[in-house]
Symmetry: C2
Subunit: 472 residues, 2 copies
């Protein structure tokens, strides 16, 4: 861990800080939180290198990262996978160029396209009945898109999904490469993919050109710590470097960078005995969970470390609240279920599974749950697999907005992004026509108690649309 | 401290984490660094609010921040003042609009202008003989710029300078407001300005429209923690909100946000007795420092908490290395001096001044310093106060690059940004003509051992320029 060690070496000398940050190695922060914030929070001191021009500890740490994932070049990111997606897209497409994008991508992908002033072509995903969530795009959809837009420059796909689902992405990458299209994969949820046989392969192993990993999501790294991998010579390396430098703090956080160094080390030194324990413990936990109550149903995902849990007849939001009363916090709730994210463990003693099961059992026994009928998405109308924006970015800049009731919004063009969070996947994008399906989906999330980001007035039942004088 | 308290409340319950981040409240990180990284590193759990759509603890914490600084609206930033500058500029100028910018601004200001595709007009600063560093822009320069470019939309000034220097910015703000120009102040180094009589006022008190504060630099906040203040109704509030959301991680760091909450609390509760101690201790320290050795010269800056220290006949870089041998780390070195940044203390016992003086004394007595003649900037030729890029952004996109020796580069147009770090202020900007003065400055930094960021080959004496076929 070259960076962790460089920081430890620095701190060993009991150094006096006449530099930023203002807490002076933590001296000014009193109380319980002192140690939590501060010990590693240093700056570009001698021996600690510089993220924006690495030559020593950070360069070594990034080289070990590239060696582990077998990439051409790998970067530590301190502004999350958000900046990985922004830089990947902005370095791959110029103003006016077509980029294929999975319709239910993370909002940062849409932001990257907007900043690049590229032209998105949205590809609708398949639907997974088991998890009641969106899956990936199909090869057929990609082939149709290639027929309509053979001039496309790049594409962005999410693999795996937030829910840990996988789909046949290898064939899609091969098809797109036939057309010379640069493949960007938002693999935020799969930094551990390919680490051993018990988890799916990474798209790095399938020839994707640029791959983004949220190290902090599944590895023991700090939040905002991510990796960006350049995996082919098709990538404009200088442009990638330039954008990650422009879009990240010129004073990057050493705790976050050090935690990335730790996470790489942790993953690279995972033994087969350790991975086997993860499989055994997850199996045991699922078995014990289903024994608690017959209404508890577990759905496994493509990712060993993610399971979906439903309490029959109860919305995921209500189920999540019940668990929280006993101090059990899950990753997300949707109308149907909650998502549990397990740790990637080194030993069977790392995580309090037994205590968790006791708390879950208590939570369900004590719960006073208001059962409600949960609307299911499967009854929703099918929509077009391939769609574009109804207005160009230039047209959007000069249009006025107005507020309309959600009920009357079908056919209008949305002027804002509207995003239930989690999972942070936009239902409406600025410039896109509102369809009946989107209105129904938004209502399901809202009425079941999801938080919704974006500029909306859903508490008054309204969304913002462009004032087109008449609905076309 | 609503956010600190919300996090403490959450942790009190000994919660079980089935959510990201992957370290599971620190369980997976072993060894000395465990507590340093992780205790506060949570995610958007119930009760912990959401930075991108704040309604609870984060909304309360940001309101307390706005109340303290008396602004229209204040934001916590987790991607440093970098994102504050980017969002301020991108929300204030559209493609092709003119923006006045202090020539020696932070690189993030130039990045913001590039991303906005605005047209920069550079204003040269005055020179401060005492500190041998750049000061601010003069009112005369601003008036000349207004005559030449009355259509300018916005301006960006740095106040105070990295070295803690101030200049008559109030008159400049008033002059620019007469023309309806939006005033953005990169006040990264002055989050404590205006806190009491012993430090200069903040530009927030002078009517600046948008002000960016690196809370982490002078207050006890974590690195990457900054504030963005909207201080007038002239600002496009929706655009600001939209850009800070686009350019920051969708998983913002709770330790950084909590440390911002702590920093605001710390500043808002600073008593006059406490500020008096800071003044006394700085005076005592300077006096003791000058008593160590007659070659030690201290220059005070506008900021009580910053002093410049020279060891006569020795470059700042060499002086810094000598201090580091004894474990005394300063903020920056330039060819002449080092910059000491003092803590903003609550008590006289917060910081080991006595130990620091002993270490400095030992450092100087033990030092084997290779004295060299230091080149001084004051002999450099004067240059034009107002300058524009020699090539537009569109022209730059289609030009090829070539490498030329630094000696032969005068008259060429630089194709890369070249930035000695610290202080992170560009000497060459892409699209700008290379002048003799810039070449000389760059040589002074390079030959004295500064790190230089950007795409250059200074180790071979070369920089990149656009291939114009002939030098115009």
């Amino acid at each position: 861990m070259p960076l962790v060690e460089a920081i430890e070496r620095h701190m060993e000398g009991n150094p006096v800080s006449f530099h930023v940050p203002g807490h002076k190695n933590g001296l000014l922060v009193k109380g319980a939180h002192q140690q939590s914030f501060l010990r590693y929070d240093l700056t570009e001191l001698s021996g600690l290198d510089d993220l924006h021009e690495p030559m020593e500890a950070i360069a070594d740490a990034e080289q070990l990262l590239a060696d582990y994932y077998k990439t051409k070049k790998s970067y530590f990111l301190v502004n999350g996978s958000t900046v990985g997606n922004l830089a990947s897209i902005m370095s791959s497409c110029k103003q006016g160029e077509v980029v294929f994008v999975q319709r239910n991508c993370h909002k940062s992908v849409l932001h990257g396209i907007k900043l690049a002033k590229a032209v998105p072509v949205f590809l609708e995903t398949e639907w997974d009945e088991g998890s009641q969530t969106a899956l990936g795009v199909s090869l057929d959809t990609v082939k149709s898109a290639l027929e309509q837009f053979p001039q496309a420059k790049a594409c962005v796909f999410t693999y795996p999904t937030y829910y840990g689902l996988t789909y046949p992405i290898h064939a899609i990458i091969k098809e797109l490469h036939k057309y010379g299209i640069l493949v960007i994969i938002d693999e935020a949820h799969g930094p551990h993919f390919g680490a051993w046989q018990g988890v799916p392969p990474s798209t790095l192993q399938m020839g994707a050109d640029l791959v983004v990993h949220s190290a902090h999501k599944m590895l023991p790294a700090m939040t905002m710590g991510s990796f960006l991998h350049i995996n082919s010579d098709r990538v404009n390396k200088n442009a990638v470097k330039s954008y990650i430098s422009m879009l990240q703090s010129s004073s990057p956080s050493y705790p976050i960078m050090a935690s990335l160094d730790y996470a790489r080390y942790y993953l690279a030194n995972l033994s087969s005995e350790e991975t086997a324990w993860n499989e055994v413990l997850v199996d045991e936990f699922i078995h014990s969970l289903e024994s608690i109550n017959s209404l508890l149903k577990v759905t496994r995902t493509g990712d060993l470390l993610k399971i979906l849990v439903r309490l029959e007849g109860v919305s995921g939001y209500d189920f999540q609240r019940v668990l929280e009363i006993e101090g059990v916090y899950t990753e997300l709730a949707d109308p149907f279920q909650v998502l549990f994210v397990f740790p990637l463990m080194k030993t069977k003693f790392d995580f309090p599974f037994k205590e968790a099961l006791e708390k879950i059992s208590r939570a369900i026994n004590n719960a006073n749950i208001d059962k409600k009928e949960i609307k299911r998405f499967e009854t929703l109308p099918r929509i077009n697999k391939i769609s574009s924006l109804a207005l160009s970015l230039d047209e959007m800049e000069v249009k006025e907005e107005k507020w309309v009731p959600l009920e009357d919004s079908v056919g209008h063009i949305s002027s804002q992004m509207v995003i239930p969070y989690p999972p942070g996947i936009p239902i409406l994008v600025a410039g896109e026509r509102v369809t009946e399906e989107k209105v129904i989906r938004l209502k399901v999330y809202w009425e079941n108690g999801a938080k919704v980001q974006g500029n909306h007035k859903l508490e008054n039942g309204q969304i913002a649309v462009y004032d087109m004088l008449e609905v076309e």
